[in-house]
């Protein structure tokens, strides 16, 4: 029973000298205050246990390696170690924040997925098919120029060489092709947007 009234400084001295029981007394004496302090900062029992454990590992290493300078302030020293570990914990978590979905916040408000959905892809395929059908209704010379330009990505110089007409003629045919496409779309009330 007398050992419970032993000052911290003497317990530390005994522990350094090899008395493991002294550490047990120190932990039992101060665990509530130290753990309570850690928990008040972290609000998580498991994380608080981890920090509490890491705190005492540092304490043990310092004492056993004879690196501790006794100034009669064991508890403040341990609390300072715990405090620093809490700061490290927050720094580490800040680098990799854990975001949890709540009713007020969703990570998808910030992150966006630009890939088309299945519905979007179906709509796009439908629009493309409609456009191809409309192109088929164009006069042959306009259809030829438009398909070379849009689907084969040829320049007007290349189109003029392949079709045997001047560049201006190729440009003209392209222009009329676009005008006629618009007329067909308007005439048939076709909607080409999603």
């Amino acid at each position: 029973m007398a050992i419970n009234h032993t000052p911290d400084a003497l317990l530390v001295k005994n522990y350094i000298a090899g008395d493991e029981q002294a550490l047990t007394v120190l932990i039992n004496r101060h665990q509530t205050k130290i753990y309570g302090f850690i928990y008040s900062k972290l609000a998580d029992r498991d994380q608080a246990d981890d920090v509490f454990q890491d705190t005492f590992i540092k304490v043990i290493k310092t004492l056993k390696s004879n690196s501790y300078n006794e100034e009669g302030k064991f508890l403040p020293w341990v609390m300072r170690i715990a405090h620093n570990l809490i700061v490290d914990f927050y720094r580490k978590n800040k680098k990799m924040p854990l975001l949890r979905e709540t009713e007020e916040f969703s990570i998808f408000d910030i992150l966006s997925d630009n890939s088309p959905s299945i519905e979007g892809q179906i709509i796009y395929d439908g629009i493309e098919k409609d456009v191809q059908n409309i192109i088929l209704e164009l006069p042959d010379d306009q259809k030829e120029v438009l398909m070379m330009r849009i689907y084969q990505d040829l320049s007007f110089k290349e189109i003029s060489e392949l079709t045997g007409v001047s560049i201006n003629t190729a440009l003209g045919r392209m222009r009329y092709a676009v005008i006629n496409l618009r007329k067909i779309i308007e005439k048939n009330n076709i909607i080409l947007t999603a």
Binding site: I27, Y35, S40, F56, N66
Partner: protein, 47 residues
Amino acid sequence: MAKIYSKIIAAPTAIQPKKETVNFILNYSKALSYLNIKGQKIEFIAN
């Protein structure tokens, strides 16, 4: 920093670490020792 420490969460009374945590610390202490070899402290953990 001030922002972190301005948030105080009231801890339940007499909150303590898990017994397993304390036991681990005590066992770790029993297993850990230091040897001084040529002025260098070498850490040993006995199994």
